[in-house]
């Protein structure tokens, strides 16, 4: 959140609650600063014949905006999230079935896509779906002075020169998905990726802590 030199960049405080909805098979809400997204997963379940894929599960991602109907912006975000989830989920274990991931935007205060990715991962974990790795989303903004800001707020996003969101996997910290806006140099891109990989460690540690807390009663 803080603007600073190359010495310290920070993530806003974040929080998460799992299985807060009774109907979906897995649900989670993820909060980064004021930005919050609610995610629900249904599946594996019966699939429509027209959407059936014979050797793997069909994953559908829906993003519901807070006001109005989903538009092109939501469609592109849906695609980003879907491709990330498809990369980490072991879909071939559930052929001819459907997985539906619904993301509801509760409040947008910047870094919405990364928050959606984190909520999606937590919800998939809650649903207990087999995955090859976990993933998290990190948004970096480059402001007009060329400084990198991680997890920017809406105001910081507006003032930034470039905005990048990366999905990073938990095993080798590789980039699963990237979505960028604005202009930047190759060097800046690599810097942002390196920062995101560093930041992802914090988020994965958070995932680990929350899962540990959740199962702390049954493990004893």
């Amino acid at each position: 959140m803080e603007v600073c030199g190359s010495s310290n960049v920070s993530l806003r405080e974040f929080g998460c609650e799992q299985s807060l909805l009774s109907r979906p098979d897995g649900s989670a809400s993820f909060i980064q600063g004021d930005t919050s997204v609610l995610a629900g997963v249904y599946g594996p379940a019966e699939v429509k014949v027209s959407k059936e894929i014979y050797d793997r599960a069909t994953l559908e991602v829906l993003i519901q905006p807070k006001v109005g109907l989903p538009s092109v912006r939501e469609r592109s975000q849906e695609q980003c999230v879907r491709e990330t989830c498809e990369a980490s989920l072991l879909l071939s274990l559930h052929p001819r079935s459907s997985l539906t991931l619904i993301l509801q935007v509760l409040h947008d205060d910047g870094s919405l896509l990364s928050c959606a990715l984190n909520a999606a991962c937590m919800a998939l974990m809650d649903a207990g779906l087999p995955m090859s790795c976990l993933f998290c989303g990190v948004t970096c903004a480059i402001d007009t002075d060329g400084q990198i800001i991680t997890d920017p707020t809406a105001a910081q996003e507006k003032e930034s020169r470039a905005l990048m969101t990366f999905a990073i996997d938990s095993t080798e910290r590789r980039v699963l998905m990237s979505s960028t806006k604005g202009s930047f140099t190759v060097h800046e891109l690599q810097q942002c990726i390196a920062v995101s990989q560093k930041a992802s460690e914090k988020i994965f540690q958070f995932y680990r802590d929350s899962v540990r807390r959740r199962y702390s009663k049954t493990l004893e």
Binding site: R23, S29, I31, Y42, Q64, H187, K202, F206
Partner: protein
Amino acid sequence: MKDTPLANCERDFLLKAIEEKKRLDGRQTYDYRKIKITFGTDYGCCFVDLGRTRVMAQVSCELVAPKENRPNEGIMFFNIELSPMASPAFEQGRQSELSVKLNRQLERCLRNSKCIDTESLCVVSGEKVWQIRVDVHMLNHDGNLMDAASIAAITALCHFRRPDVAIQGDEVTVFSPEERDPIPLSIYHMPISVSFSFFQQGTYLLVDPCEREERVMDGLLMIAMNKHREICSIQSSGGIMLLKDQVMRCSKIASVKVSEITELIGKALENDKKARKAGGRCGFAESIPQERITALKMEESPVEMMDVTERANDIVQKAEAPPQTVPSPVVPVPGVGQVGQGLQNTWGLEDDDEEEEEEEENGNRGEEQEGKASKMEKYEKEESRGGDVVEISDSEEEEVVILHPETSDKAPVNTGSRSSSHQKGAAKSKKK
């Protein structure tokens, strides 16, 4: 995705329990489930939990032209989204019977009861009025969506603040919240819907049915009422015949429930006002229950940036190699120019008869050549306009290889289609 069907034995069990005046969740006949009202970070955002049913309402506003027959009244718009998150049976983007029914009922409950002063939403008569839009999102469906939606919608409307406007002559200025404090809507009364479900042709009555009970009920009666005991709308569905005294009894129960709920809404609004005044953080982020085992929160944390620059440098330096693999621009035959010249043609090896593909290919290679193509195209256009080619070859653009000897004789008769076929010829000659 289809909803999970209800088994016959489950249905029989539920009905039997209702006959014995028992409910699955241990409630009494006239009991409501626990209602929890929380607010979002911005104005006009409200979450309502009714047992496990969860609903979010968001109010927004926008300046629009008024309706012709009502030039000095603001517009109210209600939209209930049956998000597939609430239940797998709900489909996105499709108007189901239930969503139409709920939307209509909410409109009758809030718009037709005239609970909001629409005339105060007028900015310039006949030209500009505020349109207040209420979006209600269903997040979890555990029965009685209507009551939850009506509570969420009216609470969000009470919580909402619209930007202040000033009119000077013909100019309308909308002030941001920093410049002038936003203004709340003027609300006359708060209609709240209360649902009653009937079983065994009206023999048994339950208040606030849960999802299971809704599935086995015969009929539903929804009464919208305000705390002054004025009925705003009554709707009966399911096709059961109700007796007069049954309706009377329901309206009496409704009046009690409505006064309770109104009080709760008032308290929730007051609490939120206090929290906002105190300047503390409020909203959804603060409403996460900390004591639950499924929830966790982490404080703001710094990200280590020590070796980031070096790493980036490293990667960039290592990555310097790949560009060399791109073949340097080569002119295959002296005097032959082509769009995207120099790169390996991997696209049109088999097909040399399809002109369309050729053009596409040219476009793609043109992109690789970083806009050289566009320059060429410009020249081609000039050519087609009958421009002199020799002059073009004198151009100062060093990177662009200009068609020289071959085109000079063709140029005078060049047209748009001609130039593309010429490019095709060039591509072919390159393949050879």
